[in-house]
Symmetry: C2
Subunit: 132 residues, 2 copies
């Protein structure tokens, strides 16, 4: 599977590592070159400096042949906008974005954006762990 | 179950809400009174302003009768320290803390602290979602 990840923070870098370990082809885009330090030393995917909202940058990252796009920058709005570009302009089959704000997530869900709120996921997981 | 939560950020507040909805008795401690705005309007648990590393504050929150303690402030070190106080001084049966840094989490795991790294949890979840 070809995957483009926007945002090389802790989650983006970790996801890139996990996907590569499973044999997927990964490209990571981040505006900050320093963020790529989080990638493992033996990372063999593509690391591109650039803004993931820029269609030229996305093309260089291989979005036109991507099977999946994941937006995990720190900004909810950026993630949602990038997800919409990937989904509606480049027709990427599988698009996921992180949306911290649960209310905003619900709104975008109705617009067809598959947003995941780490807040909700994590709180739910803690609850289940406590009650188990 | 009596649960004391340290940190009323998005996750702490959401967890308090979820636990209360399941019939548990919840106390939330935070140094910032403004953080309690995140609790639901009908929250009937205890919201205490104070530092969760202060044993007097923890006692006021009912730590001596707590079945569980959860540390979810923004600081890994604070969370770990509070978890150790809850576990070793107040003998709370179930103690969980958030540790963002996966490396630090592994270290404390060997010291008997049940730390959860949202980074790891979330990246793993995204991977499974992409591969499903």
């Amino acid at each position: 599977m070809n995957v483009v990840i926007m945002g090389c923070g802790r989650v983006g870098a970790r996801l890139a590592e996990l996907l590569e370990a499973d044999g997927h082809s990964v490209a990571v885009v981040d505006i900050d070159a320093y963020s790529f330090r989080r990638l493992p030393d033996n990372f063999s995917g593509n690391a591109l400096i650039g803004n993931g909202l820029d269609q030229e940058v996305l093309k260089r990252a291989g979005i036109e042949k991507a099977d999946a796009f994941v937006a995990v920058t720190q900004g909810d709005n950026r993630n949602v906008m990038a997800a919409q570009i990937a989904k509606h302009i480049f027709n990427v089959p599988r698009v996921i974005c992180r949306i911290y704000d649960p209310l905003r997530r619900d709104l975008y869900q109705t617009l067809g954006i598959d947003g995941i709120s780490p807040t909700t996921v994590f709180a739910q997981m803690l609850k289940e762990k406590l009650e188990s």
